[in-house]
């Protein structure tokens, strides 16, 4: 057991001391910090741009009456709002179209308005034809806002004309809501029968997202590190000395466990960076807006998440170790780990893309396949009501396959580390594996 901890300690020390590791960790922490502060930073540059001034011609003439009325009612509509995104700015009629246009363009030039609304012939909609002119491309946000405003204005006008009372109008405008609560019907794996409110579902979904991403990140970073360390030990032939010093199983698990500690510390560091950034005073508002109540997290879901995280990590780690010990040169490693990388990618994407359909057949089937289940079963547990036996079955399959993977990986490790030269064929590996005890 002593040797195991010696290997663990050596692995951690070497990894953490390495320049590459420190630099990557710091760069990622920096990127995270920038990402979190980005809304605030953008806000600093964007100040005062929230309100757009839109000009229109307030004409007294007969044929432009429809346009003027529309402009005025828009102006009135936006003035009623608490935080209007648009302010309508009326301009005097100069008498002819060319002069009006020149006047409005000059206003844009001087920065008094961003664009202006031009009115044409009356149409069936009850409003004249309108064109929004500005220097910018694709001002759909602006036109949508004004369209929405006009629909409301029209509705109010029509209803008023129909002689409805104020109560009737309020009733017509009142929103209709259907709430959702996830309930448990049978012998589920959840922590109670109270069901989950939408807020709880939202928080659970967040937990699942975070856990799936953490698991994927942990597998990707540590998997490659484990594989490349073993290949490096092999190519530097230090392996021959190691194998004559300590049993291969201890050595492999020492390495995997050491790497696990490194990854956990790394992830914890990132989480700390996230929390530090989020708790900074200028970001307080942003978090408040998201309306996350961490006390809504289902504690049992966290336990499941932790279990599947650990098992998923160790399954992939042992597989990566096996691959690292087959390859003898670091150059060949990328190619050799590719299949495993794809498998973990597949599990990750199945889970992420099924988050809105956690009941599909794909999810149900893959939640029993060991390399996918750490991702997918967690999704099912968090978002649906999974019968207890299914959870146990999936976890059982996972444990059995970890045992199998450990056995095979240790064999491959013991065998592969002494195979040099070209990548050995399956036949050679099988034959050699029979020869070694672990």
């Amino acid at each position: 057991m002593n040797n195991f901890w010696t290997v663990v300690g050596f692995t951690i020390r070497n990894k953490v001391k390495g320049k590459a590791f420190t630099i990557t960790t710091l760069i990622i922490a920096l990127v995270i910090s920038i990402g979190i502060n980005l809304p605030y930073i953008i806000e600093q540059f964007d100040k005062g741009d929230k309100v757009t001034n839109v000009g229109y011609i307030q004409s007294q003439s007969e044929e432009a009456a429809g346009g003027t009325a529309t402009g005025d009612s828009l102006k009135a509509y936006y003035e009623q709002q608490e935080n209007p995104s648009i302010v309508m700015v009326p301009f005097e009629d100069e008498g002819d179209a060319a002069a009006n246009e020149a006047q409005l363009k000059q206003a844009i030039d001087e920065g008094r308005i961003k664009g202006y609304l031009e009115f044409g012939e009356m149409s069936d909609s009850g409003f004249p034809q309108m064109t929004y002119k500005s220097e910018k491309l694709m001002e759909f946000g602006m036109t949508e806002s004004m369209q929405g405003a006009l629909v409301q204005i029209r509705q109010a006008n029509v209803l008023q004309d129909a002689g409805l009372t104020a109560e009737q109008m309020a009733q017509l405008n009142a929103p209709i809501e259907i709430g959702t609560v996830q309930i448990y019907t049978g012998d589920g794996s959840g922590s109670g029968n109270a069901g989950r409110t939408p807020e709880e579902q939202g928080v659970n979904m967040g937990v699942i997202y975070v856990m799936i991403i953490f698991l994927f990140m942990a597998i990707m970073t540590s998997g490659n590190m484990i594989a490349s360390e073993i290949t490096a030990e092999k190519s530097s032939r230090v392996m021959e000395i190691l194998i004559t010093s300590v049993s291969p199983l201890k050595q492999m698990f020492g390495k995997i466990f050491g790497m696990f500690v490194v990854v956990i510390v790394q992830v914890a560091f990132y989480v700390a960076v996230i929390l530090l950034n989020v708790s900074m005073p200028h970001n307080k508002g942003a978090l408040g807006n998201l309306d996350i109540d961490l006390s809504l997290i289902d504690p049992l879901l966290l336990v499941y998440a932790l279990l599947f995280f650990l098992t998923g990590f160790f399954l992939f780690a042992t597989l990566y170790a096996a691959i690292g010990s087959i390859v003898s040169r670091t150059e060949d490693l990328g190619q050799a780990v590719m299949p495993l990388t794809f498998v973990s990618l597949a599990g990750f994407y199945i889970a992420i893309f099924s988050i809105s359909a956690p009941d599909s057949m794909l999810v149900k089937v893959t939640s029993y396949i060991p390399v996918f289940s750490p991702f997918v079963m967690l999704l099912r547990l968090g978002l649906t009501d999974v019968p207890m036996w299914q959870t146990l079955l999936s976890f059982g399959i996972l444990l059995v396959s970890i045992y199998g993977a450990v056995y095979v990986s240790a064999k491959i490790y013991r065998t592969g580390v002494l195979m040099y030269g070209k990548r050995p064929s399956w036949k050679e590996i099988r034959k050699a594996m029979k020869a070694y005890k672990i």
Binding site: N2, N3, T6, V7, F10, R13, N14, G18, E233, S236, R237, V238, M239, E240, I241, L242, I243, T244, S245, V246, S247, L418, A435, Y436
Partner: protein
């Protein structure tokens, strides 16, 4: 009971036999020479002794016990090729390797400092292995093999890549290890090292043991067929002495090949008649000659 005993060990790779029935015993405080041409099976034998690969037949005993993880801390290994972490500091990895073999951190550190002093390179303690020259890496490799005070040391081409000064340095430390009671299995291509260090040897040729025993016994088996003669004047008629097969003139006299040892007496008598004899020696064959003869003969 000898610390290391190899009994009729056979190892086959696919269709090729790498080692065919080798037996040897290394006693306490002995350096055992394992000789052979390239590809004769030396490294395979050593790897089996280390438990890196398992023999197909026969067995290897350590203090009378078969291989198990318990024996690991007894063993020390100096591989032919460099086997160290290139990017890890010397102190870190030597201490790590010694700890793996059951030594405490403090002891490992003390031993390492002692060895670095011994090799006159204490400044390497904090250097990375990749920063050192090949010869100096070999010194570190040597320390890695012996730092944990192993009872059985396997040295594959221990002195390759070293300059003469460092060869002497390492040779003297190998002798110290021997005198301290370690059993050393030693392979090299440098026959003069074997003559100097080894009591018993085995010569392997194409997977088979062709010569085995104590160096003295082996030398006795080979006839003394060379006479060195040093005289102040020329000696004529040496070719006509019975048993002489060839005469070569050298700087200070003659080197005479004979077919039987007794011819030496006749040569000496003839020489003394004609000149003052400064030197006369019937040379025993060098290991180099024995090696070339045993291995070279079968080379066709």
């Amino acid at each position: 009971m000898n610390p290391l005993k190899v009994e009729n060990v056979v190892k086959q790779y696919a269709d090729k036999t790498a080692v065919n029935g080798i037996s040897l015993e290394v006693s306490e405080g002995e350096i055992y020479g394992l000789l052979g041409a390239n590809g004769a099976g030396k490294t395979t034998t050593m790897r089996m002794v280390l438990g890196l690969i398992y023999p197909d037949e026969g067995r290897i005993l350590y203090n009378g016990k078969p291989y198990s993880n318990e024996q690991l801390s007894l063993l020390g290994y100096l591989p032919e090729e460099r086997g160290l972490y290139p990017k890890v500091k010397v102190s870190d990895q030597i201490i790590y390797l010694s700890q793996l073999r059951g030594m405490s951190r403090a002891d490992a550190d003390r031993n390492l400092k002692h060895w670095l002093e011994r090799f006159e390179v204490p400044e390497y303690y904090n250097k990375k292995v990749e920063e050192l020259s090949k010869g100096n890496q070999q010194k570190i490799q040597f320390i890695a093999a012996v730092n944990h005070k192993p009872r059985i040391v396997v040295m594959d081409e221990a002195f390759s890549g070293l300059d003469p000064v460092n060869v002497e340095l390492l040779k003297s430390t190998v002798k110290e290890l021997r005198d301290a009671g370690s059993s050393i299995l030693f392979s090299t291509h440098r026959m003069e090292h074997v003559e100097e260090l080894c009591r018993n040897i085995t010569i392997l040729h194409r997977s088979n043991t062709v010569l085995k025993g104590s160096l003295k016994e082996i030398k006795k088996q080979f006839p003394r067929e060379r006479v060195i003669l040093g005289t102040d004047n020329e000696v004529s008629g040496l070719e006509r002495v019975a048993g002489v097969t060839g005469v070569t003139r050298t700087e200070h006299g003659y080197e005479i090949a004979v077919s039987f040892e007794a011819a030496g007496a006749d040569i000496l008598r003839l020489a003394m008649e004609q000149a003052t004899v400064n030197r006369f020696e019937i040379k025993e064959p060098t290991l180099n000659e024995i090696f070339i003869r045993t291995v070279g003969d079968r080379h066709e």
